[in-house]
């Protein structure tokens, strides 16, 4: 085995067990760790201390850029680059620029949301050390796991192992980096 493992993986048999263990790991102050469960467990985010996603910030930024792009596109093209009177209307009015700006707001918001999501969750990820472990198979079937990464500042092989054991984790193994 390599000098430094990727982290520790502990197995739990039931949803409440992994839920309460997650609370203990959270309260111990760990940051780089995750739960592997076969299905979504409601409230687990809270038990893990996961904050709300930052994706909405990307969305807002995308929306603002889209709206501004629409307004300036219409303004520049119809009032500056090629001034043309259409239907007795002024060269520029936010009214007729609105439908375009509105659509671009939605389009750019959607783009920013998708891109923001992929930036933040770092998908697609073709390799992850957990995939090397046979545990991942039971984690997709009928078992629950907690993985604490060695990169966590609080990580200490003996202490972390003790914490996971105390939290009810079974069959604690080191993961190859």
């Amino acid at each position: 085995m390599a000098a430094k493992p990727y982290g520790l993986i502990a197995t739990f048999d039931t949803t409440p067990a992994v839920y309460h263990a997650a609370e203990k790991v959270r309260d111990a102050g760990y940051k780089n760790w995750d739960c592997i469960t076969p299905f979504p467990i409601h409230g687990l985010d809270k038990a893990m201390g996961v904050k709300r996603s930052h994706v909405p910030k990307f969305s807002l930024l995308g929306g603002i850029i889209g709206f501004t792009a629409g307004m300036s596109l219409i303004y520049w093209s119809s009032a500056i680059d090629y001034p043309l009177i259409v239907g007795g209307k002024p060269y520029f009015s936010p009214l007729f620029a609105f439908p375009v700006s509105y659509e671009l707001t939605i389009l750019f918001t959607a783009f920013a949301t998708i891109i923001g999501m992929f930036v933040l969750n770092r998908l697609p990820m073709h390799y992850h050390p957990v995939l090397k472990s046979s545990k991942i198979l039971s984690g997709m079937d009928d078992k629950f796991h907690i993985v604490v990464e060695a990169s966590d500042p609080k990580f200490n092989l003996a202490h972390t192992k003790a914490l996971l054991e105390q939290a009810g984790g079974k069959d604690i193994q080191e993961l190859e980096a």
Binding site: H42, R52, L60, P99
Partner: protein
Amino acid sequence: MSTHAATAPAALPSESSTSSCAGKALVVGIAGIVLTIIGLFISGGKTVAFSWLTGMTFWTAIAIGMLMLVMIHHILDSSWSVVLRRQYEHGLAAFPWLALLFVPLVVVSWMGDHDLLWKWMNPNYDLGSGHTVGHDPLYVKKASFLNLPMFTAMTALCFIVWIWLSARLRKASFTQDADGDLKWTFMNRKTAAFGLILGATTLTLASIYWVKSLDYHWFSTMFGVWFFANCARGALSVGVLMLLWLYARGDLKGVLNTNHLHSAGMLVFAFTVFWAYITFSQYFLIWNANIPEETFWYNLREITKAGEPSQWKYVGMFLLFGHFLLPFLYLLSYKNKIVHSRIKPICIWILFVIAVDMIYNIAPAVKDYVTGEPLPFLSMNLLWTATSIVGIGGVCLWAYLKSFTTTKLIPIRDPRINECLTHHE
């Protein structure tokens, strides 16, 4: 089925008294109505009649919104809104009273020259250009739709449909509390299936007869949808306020969670955008086509005959920013949707701007006798509109609170109640 009742943490009858609140609401309602009647002797029948129409439209819109939201809940088989739905079902108790309070408007239309509110009811009404309504081609073409018997029949039909649908939905839901029979859920789903069509048709008819026909020259295919946007938004805001009130009283402790408020808040946000979309589209199409039969409606609300900006222009701008931009930006935030002290003020604000929107659509139809200009926004009209809204609102609140004590706090035997109580993102 019995497990539902067993696991519901608040499977208690709503015994906690609301009768004292109901009494107060009725007193406020009657006080508002009395003040409005006093207004008759100060500002005259016409002004007060328009104010009463504004108040009626405002509260009927909210009741219609509740009816539509209950039916949308059933047709989509929603789970998260089961708790909220019960409060709407109580709110629907206001419909018979709204019908009663609408009667004076129909009665005055049958009296005298028939043109106290809707000038097209009087064929001899002088349009000021030497023509009368009866000789106006734009009226003659619409005469089979816009006439007093049709108006009376359609208004009665609308109220009958709303009261009937409400009674069906309420009876099925309340009976299920007692027997837990699933057939009531299916019955409500069927009611919703045809009720949504009836509801959409009647609310469009009502908005055209009551509000749009005040200026019967005008065309707008957006009008019914505009009305619906206000209905749904008003009902959602009132719904959130009901939930917050019941939570603060202690009734919904352990029942209402942040995700309910988040979902309701997202709907308020969605209808904010929907209102803006519809209202902007109506304005934009008329502005772009620039046809006099349509633009006059906005000219009345923007400039005087001399071309000066009138007060209504600023009311319009207020609606643009207050009805759309402010709630839009405010409700983008997650926190502002779930923290009780943050969602409450914006719901109250939205109800206020909906009232202003109703005033904007109705009040400029009242013309000054001398100049023929619309009465300004800041006139005695506004005072009697306020008293009408308080008066009718008090009666609606009283009807809600009276209904509140007749059944359980939440539909404890609804098949979706467990999903609702554990609602999550």
